[in-house]
Structures are given as structure tokens and as C-alpha cells.
Symmetry: C2
């Protein structure tokens, strides 16, 4: 069996090595149009920032290793430019020659290219996209050679935010311009708001809701033009406005395409031509939770797909399908932000009924030094099934989202989270882990032990019928509360019930939701109709601007219905 592989990074290199392990006799040729294979794609921003210091470190696997250890015929600087499906051959172009190569099976792992819009001036000197090692080195060289001081990053997705952080770490002044009102679409707006604060706290000029329209030369630098807004000066511009599946070769060969020009595959990773397979950032995957086709250009799935396509080609049932759950994480300066499953925007778009809860637990026991408070948002179905989670904080965030990712993968519920037996010692967690806490609050909601409301509901409160109660201490109240709230501290509540106007619905809150839950239980059992603010005042304070903007009032009173 002769197998050709187009593309030598995550999916392609993984397919080559797994295929060799499964079939010692296959002839395997790997074509890579660039000079390097299997490089540290996800490490590129950190090379710019200096955390990864050597270019050598970015090259994970050398062609020589694939040749010697795996008997893979690695051909770098070899671009596959056409597929002749009838003849089962491909055309290969190298700096020296053009030739054809035949195949029994062909695996496409072309990846995805950074989008480059046709804005005026987009081809000016000093404007870069980042996809591979040469791109990264070009930026590094440019900063070094021009002594660039001021960078504009266009686009606030993963790469954009990582680039903004790394350029800041390198000492540049950075403006990050994002078209949408938030960075990082996997996060819901109120979670992204936490990240916005951190990004700004590190001196990044974060301009949200701003559309770049073009570039003009400006002395030795550039002027970044924005729609209906001030232009931004820059020595250097990095475009990080997303990626497009590199499906040109597949499209030209008449293979079926999917969403956004991706390559459509089945669960065996076969394209519409059963002898041609595809994996990695270029393919159309499917949400494990909604069943809908989607795109998820991430290294983890690409690596697993590389393994799976090799299994598929040797006739096995692949150990991975094209189903994805969508787990992602990134470092945002001292913060970690991670998510898994579906977010609120996706759930609404898919019409899936859900509930949600916010908790702000410490990463480990409060009496052991070094614990950090995190914000964890959990989304779940009315039957308790966990649908998604998002978390931001300085410590222990990756652990909690990975645990919830495992629970989602196995169809677990909030009752499982409540009863989950995780490792506890003071340096690592609390006897009630943040995952348990999320489960407790979610289960309290589902069992009817606590009715909750959310910050966005504040806009719909009506002072005629609703009573907004701050159950924190007078000192906390004095330092800032939700406008319109009346302070009755939890520990005085039982003695001051008569201060709550009869007949009104009580909307109460504390700092993070725990005292609020206790207040709710007291008030419910005394006959009040009461809602506790999920996540408490902390959730409100984290994204106050958002609720102000949304309601169109300045939060100078309980917003009107």
C-alpha cells in the first residue's frame, strides 16, 4: 500500500507515524510545502515574547527522525498542487522540479491559513500574519531590525490575545483591536469581561467593537485606519482575524466541501472520494453536544485525527471520530481562561434549554497560602446533564475545566459534580472542590432549593414589585453595591424580616452567592418569593459595564422593566 500525506504538521505527521506503527510495509511519503515539519505551532507566540528562547525548540520532530525511525519518505519544500483522482496521482512542485506521484490512499492535512482581508494597504511592509516558523521568525527579525516599539494586533481570538501578551512581554506598546464587543468567542461576554480587565491592566490598549478598514504608510511605520474611530499608529501590525481551511487542493479536485470551505469527511475521515482522507484544521468536524457540523482548528483534535486516519486506512474502526467537544485554554498574562463544551451563545443558537450557575471559589484551602479566587460558570440542562463550563482565574483553572470536560465527555450530570470525589489536601484544593461547589449550586437550583437570578435580569427589576436586597455586611455595602439595593446583613436577617415590603419579590445577593443562598433559604422558609443572584456581587462587579451598556441606563437605580 502506497500512502501519500499532504502536510507535515500535527495531523499529517501523526498519521505518518501511527500508520507506520500499524503497517511496517506501507510506503509512506509525506509532502510539506514549507521547510519544516511537525513544528510547535502553539508555541509560536511565546517565541516572539521570549518565553521560548531558541528557534530550535520550535522544531519538535526533525525530518531525519521520521525517515530513520519511521521509514517515512519526508519531502519538505514540496508542494502538492493537484490531484488526479482518476489516475490516483498528485502533482508535486519543488524548487527544482515538478513531478507526479501515485497513491493507493491519499491523506490531506493542509491546515488552515490566517485570513488576510483585502483592506487597502494590507500588503504594506510591517504587516504580518502568523502561521508557521518562518512567519514567526519574520516578525522576530522585523522587531529586532526596526527596533519596533508599537504594535497593533488586529483580532482578539486565541492567537491575537496571545500575541498581544507576548508583544507586551517583549516590551512593545500594544493595541489590540477587535471587531466584536469581546475577545475570545468561546467565552460568554461576562466571562470575557474578566479577561478584558486583565488585558487592560497590563497596558494593552484594548479597542473592542472597532472595525479596521485599512492601512496607510506613516513615516517608517503605519497608520491603522478604523471605521468611525480614531486611527492607530503602529510600527508593526499582526493580523489575527481567524483562519480559513486550506481546501484549495481538495476543492480543485472536486471533493465535497463543508462549512466555511472546509473539507467534508465522514467518521472514517474519508472525503467524498473514498481513497482520499483528510484531517486537521482543514476538515469539517461535528459537535458532540449538538450534532451540528462545525470547525475546530485546534492541535488536540488534529493530533487525534492523525492517529485515527491511520487506523481507518488499515481497516480498523478509528479510535477517534470527527466528533468534538471543544475544550480550549489560554494564558492571559497571570490569568488562565479555559472552557469546555457549549457556551451560552451556542446553546441559545442551537435552541437547547439550559440553566447556569456562577461560583467564585478559591483554588485551594483558604488557610493555606497562595490560593487564588477563580470564576467558574457552569451550563447544564434541566435534567442535570452538564453542557459546558468556562473558568478564569490565576490558579487551578485548567484542572477544574479538564475535570468538567471529562464529565461532559461521559454524559455526566451536576449531581455527579456534586458527589465527585476529587483529591484534597490544603495545597491543592478544598474539601469541597470548586467542581463540587458548582455541582452543589446547580443541584440546589434543580431541586428547587434556591431560585436564582442573573446580573442581566437586573435590567428587568421593577421597584414597584421587586425588592433588591444586599445581604452582605454594612462595610461591604459601603464599598459598593448594586444601585437600588437595600442592605440587610445576613446575620441580622431573621430579626429584620419586617423591613422587607410585604408582597414584593425579593432579589437578594451577597459577595459570591453562598451567603445569598443561606439568605434565600431563610426567606423561602418564611414565605417570601426570593431569588439569589448567581455569583453574587462579584459577578456583577466583574462585568458591570456590560449590564450598564445592555440596559441603556447608567445603573443609577434599579433599571426599569
Amino acid at each position: 500500500m502506497k500512502v501519500l500525506i499532504v502536510g507535515g504538521v500535527a495531523g499529517g505527521a501523526g498519521a505518518a507515524t501511527r500508520l507506520r506503527r500499524l503497517d511496517e510495509n506501507a510506503e509512506i511519503i509525506l509532502f510539506e510545502k514549507g521547510p519544516f515539519i511537525s513544528y510547535a505551532n502553539c508555541g509560536l507566540p511565546y517565541y516572539i515574547g521570549g518565553t521560548i528562547q531558541s528557534r530550535e525548540n520550535l522544531l519538535v520532530t526533525k525530518p531525519e527522525l521520521l525517515r530513520k525511525r519511521f521509514c517515512v519518505d519526508v519531502r519538505t519544500e514540496s508542494e502538492v498542487t493537484a490531484i488526479d483522482r482518476a489516475a490516483k496521482t498528485v502533482t508535486v512542485v519543488t524548487p527544482e522540479k515538478t513531478y507526479t506521484e501515485s497513491y493507493d490512499k491519499l491523506i490531506l492535512s493542509p491546515g488552515a491559513s490566517p485570513k488576510k482581508p483585502n483592506w487597502p494597504g494590507v500588503d504594506s511592509k510591517g504587516i504580518f500574519t502568523i502561521r508557521n516558523v518562518p512567519d514567526t521568525c519574520a516578525v522576530d527579525d522585523y522587531i529586532r531590525e526596526t527596533c519596533a516599539k508599537k504594535a497593533v494586533v488586529v483580532g482578539g481570538g486565541f492567537i491575537g490575545v496571545e500575541m498581544a501578551e507576548n508583544l507586551t512581554d517583549r516590551g512593545l506598546t500594544v493595541t489590540l483591536i477587535e471587531y466584536l464587543p469581546q475577545v475570545l468567542p468561546p467565552f460568554d461576554p461576562e466571562m470575557a469581561a474578566i479577561l478584558h480587565k486583565t488585558i487592560r491592566a497590563h497596558g494593552v490598549n484594548l479597542r473592542l467593537g472597532t472595525a479596521v478598514t485599512g492601512f496607510e504608510p506613516n513615516g517608517s511605520g503605519l497608520r491603522v485606519l478604523c471605521k468611525d474611530a480614531e486611527a492607530e499608529e503602529a510600527d508593526l501590525v499582526i493580523l489575527c482575524i481567524g483562519v480559513t481551511p486550506d481546501s484549495g487542493l481538495a476543492a480543485a479536485a472536486g471533493l465535497e466541501l463543508g462549512l466555511g470551505g472546509s473539507i467534508a469527511v465522514n467518521d472514517l475521515f474519508q472525503t467524498s472520494d473514498p481513497d482520499i482522507y483528510a484531517v486537521g484544521d482543514a476538515i469539517q468536524v461535528r459537535s458532540r453536544l449538538t450534532g451540528a457540523d462545525t470547525l475546530l482548528p485546534l492541535a488536540g483534535p488534529a493530533n487525534r485525527q492523525g492517529r485515527a486516519v491511520a487506523e481507518s486506512i488499515v481497516g480498523r474502526t478509528p479510535s477517534h471520530t470527527r466528533d468534538v467537544q471543544g475544550s480550549s485554554i489560554l494564558k492571559v498574562f497571570e490569568l488562565t481562561a479555559a472552557s469546555t463544551g457549549l457556551n451560552e451563545k451556542q446553546l441559545k443558537a442551537a435552541g437547547i434549554p439550559f440553566l447556569k450557575t456562577y461560583v467564585h471559589p478559591a483554588s485551594h484551602a483558604s488557610y493555606y497560602p497562595g490560593g487564588k479566587q477563580m470564576t467558574l460558570k457552569l451550563l447544564f440542562a434541566p435534567d442535570g446533564k452538564v453542557l459546558g463550563a468556562q473558568c478564569a482565574g490565576e490558579d487551578g483553572v485548567d484542572k477544574r475545566i479538564d475535570v468538567i470536560a471529562a464529565v461532559i465527555r461521559l454524559g455526566g450530570t451536576v449531581y455527579d459534580l456534586e458527589d465527585m470525589e476529587l483529591c484534597y489536601a490544603p495545597p491543592y484544593s478544598s474539601a469541597k472542590d470548586p467542581v463540587n461547589m458548582a455541582g452543589f449550586t446547580a443541584a440546589n437550583i434543580l431541586r428547587g432549593d434556591m431560585k436564582v437570578f442573573y446580573c442581566e435580569d437586573l435590567a428587568n427589576l421593577n421597584p414597584e414589585t421587586d425588592f433588591l436586597l444586599d445581604a452582605r455586611t454594612p462595610m461591604e455595602f459601603a464599598q459598593g453595591s448594586i444601585p437600588g439595593a437595600v442592605n440587610i446583613p445576613l446575620d441580622e436577617l431573621r430579626n429584620r424580616l419586617d423591613e422587607i415590603p410585604a408582597g414584593k419579590t425579593v432579589y437578594e445577593f451577597c459577595q459570591v452567592g453562598l451567603r445569598g443562598h443561606i439568605a434565600s433559604r431563610i426567606l423561602m422558609q418564611h414565605g417570601f418569593d426570593v431569588y439569589n443572584l448567581s455569583g453574587g456581587y462579584k459577578s456583577y462587579a466583574q462585568a458591570k459595564e456590560l449590564y450598564e451598556k445592555k440596559t441603556g441606563v447608567d445603573c443609577t437605580g434599579i433599571p426599569r422593566k
Copy 2:
């Protein structure tokens, strides 16, 4: 409803607050024989070591809070000395008086006491056990007042190891004496061996397999006498030889007892008297994996049981049963050691068929600085169901065991681990997370893609019929290999197949198992009967002494069958 609670730490305090949240009208009285409730039990060793600096920090919840916020009548320094089940009353003894108190429901949360053996001299000055804040302060005061320089810790369980570390951190010279040949029974011997090295590397004189027989005064200090071994000098001795359920009150009341004198309860946490409940370290729990009764005196289960018993008392189905999985973790100097589910010793004892795999992955992408190698042992059933895991390393250990704990909780398999979609960015993980790696290797074994052998099998190899092959580089081989092994580097293997004696079974290894897997695949497909050493030479080197000791030979050749 009048509910009395005996014991005010994890289980008791948790029961009181949950019960109040569920029933605003219940009369709740909490008796605690000591001066403090709800203290930071698991933090006590870290107060001795100085990581937790203030005694105040050890007191998590003050009685005043329970009184004001939860209307719980907290009575400290009040020991419940008898239960009159017929009259439904208890006898309470305080420094001032003795009285009876009636109950509708009684919850026992007495905890467990440190074992104090009847060895000669055990009551000498300078010998301590650690259970609560006063015990801990006594040790702290004693070190301060006597300027103690040399400590002996007797017993290498969780508290013993934590005490050894913390006394070392405080500047004392520490000897840790353990009766068994290993510390920390939740870990199998070869995993404990990793911890032994770290404990010794920090200057702790670790004496395994040594029985303490008594104590003798020796000037201002003590002499710790050992059976058939040298005595140890000490200024201070901490006894950490385990705990005994504090079931005296329950036993005297004629309640049914379980394993080791624990209090027997059903899944509603009722004792044999349906109006008397029990939770926490004193009760008999049940293994979720074997169904057998067991003891698990840990803070996590105790806290959940406290919640559950309150639910049970108000007539709900409790959100937690007495089933436990056994997840535990501890810091051992710079190492973290964690485990979940069953270990190999327990699986063998229960007669449960299992397989196992060892991997040594990095905590995050190798090209991003700061990653640390961990050792992860996974135990699984022939049908793939995950049964247990143990892990040791300097970074990311807690995360991987918690993820596997979630998978065990939900009945997941190694195929789920293989396909698990966890968060990946270079600072946090690799595209193939350690959990995935454990799943890959386990699934390779189950699918028959790789036969494995283990270090303990080395003792059974026979040079007449078996060929021991080191597939690492000549440089690695020169730095140390398994005695009797022949070096054929992986990258030369295909060209040197004729050096493997025909007809012999090949037992091969590399450094961590990955190259060995590739070597196995090559050799299998060339017709050899081949086994790969799970965990590779690293696993061998980690516990070499163990295999030497086990075989009774000095590893100067392939041990004989």
C-alpha cells in the same frame, strides 16, 4: 424537630449548617468536647512547618458564626458521655456541670483518634500525637521551649509524611520510621519508591521495615527503641501510626459496629438505631469499586456526609451515599503524589482481574519552559474500565488524577481516556495530554497492538529462551541499563534484526516506553514474539532496589526463573 450533633468538625459542622438551610425551624444543638469547632484539620502539619503562620488561620468557622448565621446552639467543651436510646437523651459533661439533653434525631460525628500503642515509655515527655489544634500547638510550643533539634516521626502514612516534611522545613533533623517496607499505603510499592527517594533527598532519615518497640528517657531527650535495629535519639517524637474510629459512645449505646470498631451506617447514614445517625471518620463506608465495607477517614467524604445526613434527616434522598472511591493527594516536598480508585494491592486482594500501564509524560509541552516529568500508573479491567490511578511528579499531578477520578466515577474506560478532549495550550499540557497517553498505551495493550511486561517480570526472564533488548541510544545504554540487556538502538533496529537470536522471546525497553512501543511494532510485524517494558528504563530505575530485593539476586545478570 430537635437534633443533637456530637462533634463539631467537618461532618458535624457541615450537618448543622445544611440542616439549618433545609429546616429553618429545627432546634439544633452542636456539642464539641474541645474548645474549637470546624478547624483546619488538614492544615495542622503546615502550622508546625510554618507555611501556615497564624493559629487564627486554623480556625475556619467560629462558634459565633454558627450561632448567629445558622441559629445553631454551639456548646464547646461539652462532651457527650452517654446515650439513653430508650429515653432519647444524651448525657453532657462540661467543666461546670453534667446534664441531659433530649433529642428527636441524634447525629454522631465523633471522628477518629490517633492510635497510641501501649509501648513501654509511650507516655514520656516529648511524645505527641496530632489530632486537633491544641495537640498541634503543644508540639509547636514544645519545639520552641526545648529548642528541639531532632525529631522522630513514627508512621509513614499521610500525616507522618506531612509531619516529616514540615519538621524538616522547620529546621529539625528528622527520622521517619515505618513498620511496613513503604510509606503511604494508597500507593503501590514501586510508586512509593519514587517518594522514598525524594523524602531521603531532603535529609529525612527514612527507616522502612522497622518496628518501634518503646521509648527510654535519654538526658533531656528520648531514645526510640527499634526491634532488631539500632535505637534512634530524639528530642521529640510524633506518633502517626493511624487512627481509630471514636466509636466508644456508639458502642456503649449498643449501636452496631463495623470494620475496625467503626460505626455501621446504611445509605441514609442511619446507625442500627434509626433515630441515631453517624458521619465522618468514625463510620464504615463502602468501596464504590468493590462493594466491600471499608474505612476512609478523609475530609472530603466527611464533608459530603455532613450534607447528606441533613438531607436524610429531613426525609430526602441524600445527595451522597456511603460509597467512596478513595481519591487522595499529598505534597511530599517538591513532589505531589496522588491516587484515585483501587491500587494493585487492593485489586489483587479483591481478586479483580486487571492490567496496568506506566507512562512518564511531561506536565506540559516540552518546548515551553518549566514542564516536569511525572510518573502515571493506570490500572484497568480487561474490558477497558478504569479501576485506579497513581501519579507522582512536580507539576500537574493533581489535575491528571482528578480527571481520572471523574472518569472512574462515571464508569469510563481507557478508550475514553484515549479520546478525552482536554484543554491544551503550551503552558498547561501537550496536544496529547498525559491522560491521553495513559489511554493510548492502555488501549494498545487491550487491542493487542503491544504486549507489555513489567519490571517485576525481569526476575522471571530466562537467558536460554528470552532476549533482553535495550532499544535506547548507545549513550543512554552506557549510562546504565538493565543487567543482561543487549543494546540495539531503535533507529538501527530494522537493519539489525539478525542480531536477535531466532526463537527467543524478545523483552525490550527504551527510556519511558514510547520508543519501545515503536520497536515492538517493528518486531511484531517481523514475526518476533515481543514484549515492551511498560514505563521503560525509567520505571526500572525508579524502583530498582525493589526488584533487586524481590528477586534476592544483585541484578548482576538476567535473574533466573
